[in-house]
């Protein structure tokens, strides 16, 4: 390292960042954990009561169930579509415009995406002209219009589709970079040896892409645990669509129960801690190689 003498100078450069990180991240983390053991106004210690509520109440069960639905369906489809697009788009001449179209929703806010899809899902009673694209297609094919956002059998999936629409482009771009990094000779060699396209993909491409798929999947899992905006804008958690982050927001602003809201936040953090530890370990391995 350079300039060993004046030891206090580095702290001048570090000071603004340390101050802000301390105030906006470290202090609140401690504070939220602390509040999670107190009542709604943080006046009386209540022990584990907020956590007991979080794990046993009906509303929280719905939120947990929906987060799990999101976790499974969102993650499988974004990573799956991303992989399909990464591998297939490489074979066509319109690869670049195709990727732009799929990536485009990443530029749009979740609120904007929510409005776009609320319009796609718009519902009119049978007989009235359908102005929502999806119900127009269904009625044109002779079906009954569906209340996509209010029908409890489909509404969670209708919301998950919006998430998939936004994030597939991200997965596609990351996985595409990994796919293009695979030496072409490897794929050619497999084909020359008589492997079908599927076998080449299954036994050559896929194993080589596993590390990237793992990284993309963890990123998506972190995203999905915190999903908030889409649900807030499209249903506000009504009709059985609530997720943890929305429940926390309601506890905080609608019911002014800071104890319960804090407990939900801590549960989110606990779910993310394994990822945090993996990140730290990966960082330390990279540093060891420097």
């Amino acid at each position: 390292m350079l300039h060993k003498r004046r030891d206090w100078v580095p702290w001048l450069y570090m000071a603004p960042a340390l101050l802000i990180l301390g105030v906006y991240l470290v202090y609140p983390i401690v504070g939220t954990v602390y509040y999670s053991f107190f009542d709604k106004r943080s006046e009386h210690f209540v022990g584990w009561a907020n956590y007991k509520w979080a794990l046993t109440s009906k509303v929280m069960h719905i939120a947990f169930r929906n987060n799990i639905l999101w976790l499974i369906f969102f993650t499988v489809f974004v990573v799956g579509f991303g992989l399909v697009l990464a591998v297939l788009a490489d074979r066509v001449r319109y690869e670049s415009p195709l990727k732009s179209i799929i990536f485009l929703p990443m530029a749009i806010s979740f609120v904007g995406a929510g409005v776009i899809w609320k319009f796609v899902y718009a519902y009119r009673p049978k007989g009235a002209p359908q102005i929502g694209l999806l119900n127009a297609i269904i009625t044109a094919l002779g079906g009954e219009p569906v209340g996509w956002l209010v029908n409890r059998h489909v509404n969670n999936f209708a919301l998950i589709v919006v998430g998939i629409w936004v994030w597939t482009g991200f997965c596609m771009v990351v996985l595409s970079a990994a796919y293009k990094g695979i030496p072409r000779e490897l794929l050619e060699a497999a084909r020359v040896d008589g492997a079908t396209e599927w076998q080449t993909f299954r036994y050559v491409t896929l194993p080589l892409m596993v590390p990237t798929i793992a990284v993309v999947t963890t990123t998506m899992v972190i995203n999905v645990l915190k999903v908030f905006d889409i649900v807030y804008v499209m249903t506000n958690g009504d009709f059985g669509t609530e997720v943890l982050a929305n429940r926390m927001y309601k506890e905080m602003f609608n019911f002014r129960n800071y104890g319960r809201a804090s407990a939900i936040a801590v549960i989110l953090l606990l779910a993310i801690i394994p990822v945090m530890l993996i990140n730290i370990r990966r960082f330390q391995e990279e540093e060891a190689l420097r």
């Binding site: 390292m1 350079l2 300039h3 100078v9 580095p10 450069y13 570090m14 603004p16 960042a17 340390l18 802000i20 990180l21 105030v23 906006y24 991240l25 983390i29 504070g31 939220t32 509040y35 579509f81 697009l85 788009a89 066509v92 990536f103 485009l104 929703p105 990443m106 530029a107 749009i108 806010s109 609120v111 904007g112 929510g114 409005v115 776009i116 319009f119 796609v120 718009a122 002209p129 359908q130 102005i131 694209l133 597939t168 482009g169 991200f170 990123t219 972190i222 915190k226 908030f228 905006d229 807030y232 927001y249 936040a265 801590v266 989110l268 953090l269 993310i272 945090m276 990140n279 730290i280």
Partner: protein
């Protein structure tokens, strides 16, 4: 010749999948855009796709929806608020992070490594963990509902990622460049402003675009610290409250949504390479 026909035929499913996905991804946004230019009667009585039956029919398109949401529905004010919020909330964290990243990459001090591991850990902390204590702090210090309050909050939330990325980028810069500068008598500050920052323009640009889009599209932070008052609410907050108040007025909602998307789309199309890089780099953010 026959072989070529065969391979083309074999490719039909491939093109069907890809073109099908492209259409599925594009059509929802197209519907929004077209509807935002149609009259109220037209939007409420027929699907937006019916315009293709008669695309050049004069008088079926109008700018009235945009005028209405910009003025009467407060989207104009919200657009200005979004700019006021986003510009400082983009540059402030990058500036603070660049200083710290310089120290992390090129200076020696006790606990350097431990502090950086903490930064890596903070990357994925969910925002939700910070809302209540900060809101209380803001209520006590009267920063709630103010622009400086949200600038600082976004600076805090953007810092771990910015420090992490910039430190990794700075550390890759060849050591000789610094050594020769110091031999010539340059101070650490001169090395920072004259060597490090100019060499880091691509990294800074990607990071700035990521942070800009993140802040511009943020709903939760603005909702919690600014609230819904029209004087300070950004586009996302305003749009989400219009979704409730305008209900089925799709001619207005579509125009309002498009206004909120316009600037990110311009950035996306004009700076696509940096945009994609920035989004990729920022993906680990909590």
């Amino acid at each position: 010749m026959i072989r070529r026909v065969e391979t083309t035929l074999a490719q039909v499913p491939l093109h069907l999948i890809l073109v099908g996905m492209a259409l599925a991804w594009f059509i929802p946004t197209l519907g929004l855009l077209i509807s935002s230019f149609r009259t109220q009667d037209a939007v409420l009585s027929s699907g937006w796709w019916t315009v293709f039956r008669n695309p050049f029919l004069a008088g079926q398109f109008t700018l009235e929806n945009y005028r209405a949401v910009l003025e009467a529905q407060g989207m104009g004010r919200a657009f200005v608020n979004s700019i006021i919020i986003t510009v400082p909330a983009t540059f402030l964290p990058i500036l603070v992070a660049a200083l710290a990243a310089y120290a992390f990459a090129w200076m020696d001090f006790p606990m350097r490594r431990t502090l950086f591991v903490i930064v890596v850990g903070l990357l994925v902390v969910p925002l939700q963990m910070t809302l209540i204590p900060i809101l209380r702090l803001y209520n006590r210090t009267h920063l709630a509902g103010t622009f400086p309050g949200i600038w600082l909050a976004h600076t805090g939330y953007g810092l771990p990622l910015a420090v992490y990325l910039l430190r990794n980028f700075f550390a890759e810069i060849p050591r000789d460049l610094f050594e020769s500068a110091f031999l010539d008598g340059a101070s650490r500050w001169t090395a920072f402003t004259h060597i490090l920052l100019p060499l880091s323009v691509p990294a800074l640009a990607s990071l700035a675009i990521f942070q800009f889009i993140w802040v511009w599209n943020d709903l939760l932070v603005a909702l919690v610290y600014l609230g819904g008052t029209e004087k300070v609410a950004p586009l996302t907050v305003r749009l989400s409250s219009l979704v409730n108040s305008l209900g089925q007025n799709w001619h207005l909602l579509t125009a309002a949504a498009f206004i909120s998307m316009a600037l990110p789309l311009v950035i996306f199309f004009s700076l696509q390479r940096y945009f994609v890089r920035g989004i990729l780099a920022g993906s680990v953010k909590g």
